[in-house]
């Protein structure tokens, strides 16, 4: 790395990211896992949970939104300002895929920022009978998505995939 590059790299960047997804998908559980490194019991979110991650050269403000239907119309206020979106899906709940897809599309289409980065988490991977990743990508038409995205399989219960997915995400911001 050249001296000049290193000089510019030392400046701390800021990124705002929001965690969206249906209620009961495990958004808050994932946020708590990032904080504590273990599974923590949660209650349905009524407002917004906010956490800040201080990484070398990057400060990430994480907003965990409430997924219940009544709260969803408030998402765009926070999403508008965010640089990245984490969309969490309960991959064990086949019954709600259509609803999740609809909400996902609404969320994505409301975004104007071309540089938006999207992290999709197929959560609750520890459960039996979960949707396959490849099938999911197809079902959600992710290949047509005009943004940078990635899908990870996670479990906020065992912690699988949590670090790797968020590492990919923050590395995208550090560039």
């Amino acid at each position: 790395m050249s001296f000049l590059q290193r000089l510019f790299r030392t400046r701390t960047k800021h990124a705002d990211i929001t965690i969206c997804g249906l209620d009961d998908a495990g958004k808050t559980t994932i946020l708590r896992f990032l904080e504590t490194g273990e599974f923590v019991d949660t209650t349905p979110t009524m407002g917004v949970n906010r956490e800040t991650l201080h990484l070398p050269n990057l400060q990430v403000n994480v907003f965990d939104l409430a997924g219940q239907e009544d709260f969803r119309n408030m998402w765009h206020n926070i999403n508008e300002k965010s640089d990245g979106i984490v969309f969490v899906i309960d991959r064990s709940n086949v019954m709600r895929f259509d609803e999740a897809k609809e909400v996902f599309e609404q969320t994505i289409h409301a975004q104007l920022d071309q540089d938006l980065i999207i992290l999709i988490l197929l959560n609750k991977s520890d459960e039996p009978n979960v949707i396959e990743k490849s099938l999911f990508i197809e079902e959600f038409n992710l290949l047509d998505l005009p943004f940078k995205w990635a899908v990870f399989e996670t479990s906020a219960k065992t912690g699988d995939g949590i670090f790797n997915s968020f590492k990919w995400f923050v590395d995208e911001f550090i560039g």
């Binding site: 896992f33 990032l34 904080e35 956490e51 201080h54 990484l55």
Partner: protein
């Protein structure tokens, strides 16, 4: 006009002045940061704390002015100087009242009845002291003229014993209660920032009490310059550290919070990865 024997107060006075200047510099710094905070937050609590420390730094200012003008006047006690010396006890009690009410908002859990009674007691004592000082200022002019008692600071001793005792009791009562309660709350709290903030407040308040007691002590030994100078030095040190600690505890500047904040799991994992 009455004369004060300068040879008695001069050598020690210099050190007390220096120590008071240090004290005032640190307290003013705290007042200014609280003022900045107040303009940002505009909370009643910050205002009370601000008022309290403003009055405390005012007492140091009076103490310095009193000593300097006395030396400048070659020991001649004028009415103005005399009144300057008698102002300190008038300021300290309201300062502690503000501190107490601030404590009630955030740390103490006194109910309305206790608060009202305590406030009434403080006001009665304040009224009595005011009456004594006013009477003295008008008729006798003798309370504050004893050179051995000329030390004005937060716990100044330059007046008769009842006034002094009332002051010491109230200050110990208010500060130690806030201190103890803050430390106790800190032990119960499991939120790292709040915990450390309360601990810092507790330590700062006790350091402040210690500094105040040292002031009371150094005036009673003003005939022993060497000891007095040592005590003055310790007092200056105690005030300085107390003000810095209280600043950290009450204001909790961003860098201090950042220092306390426990790193999250993700942050630690991420850092470990980078090190490798």
């Amino acid at each position: 006009m009455m004369m004060v024997d300068l040879s008695l107060i001069e050598p020690a006075s210099f050190f007390i002045i220096v120590s008071s200047v240090i004290n005032m510099a640190f307290s003013l710094a705290l007042v200014i940061t609280l003022l900045v905070n107040f303009f940002r937050k505009k909370t009643v609590g910050t205002f009370m704390l601000l008022s309290s420390y403003f009055l405390f730094s005012l007492t140091s200012a009076f103490s310095i002015a009193y000593r300097i003008s006395l030396i400048y006047n070659e020991g001649v006690m004028t009415d103005t100087i005399y009144q300057m010396g008698s102002l300190t006890p008038m300021i300290i009690l309201p300062a502690f009242a503000f501190l107490y009410f601030f404590g009630c908002r955030h740390i103490l859990k006194d109910n309305e009845i206790v608060k009202t009674y305590l406030f009434a007691i403080i006001m009665v004592i304040y009224g009595l002291i005011t009456a004594v000082i006013a009477y003295d200022n008008i008729y006798t002019n003798s309370l504050f003229s004893e050179p051995t008692y000329i030390t004005n600071d937060v716990f100044t001793i330059s007046y008769t014993w009842p006034i002094l005792v009332a002051q010491i009791v109230i200050s110990i009562f208010v500060t130690s209660r806030i201190g103890i309660r803050a430390l106790r709350l800190a032990r119960k709290s499991d939120q790292p920032i709040r915990k450390r903030g309360l601990q810092t407040i507790g330590i700062g308040v006790f350091l402040y009490l210690l500094a105040g007691l040292l002031s009371a002590f150094d005036s009673s030994i003003s005939n022993l310059p060497a000891l007095m100078i040592t005590v003055s030095a310790f007092r200056a040190l105690a005030y300085a550290t107390a003000y810095v600690t209280m600043y950290l505890g009450w204001v909790m500047p961003a860098w201090y919070r950042k220092m306390i904040r426990k790193k999250s799991w993700f942050e630690m994992q991420y850092q470990q990865l980078q090190k490798r």
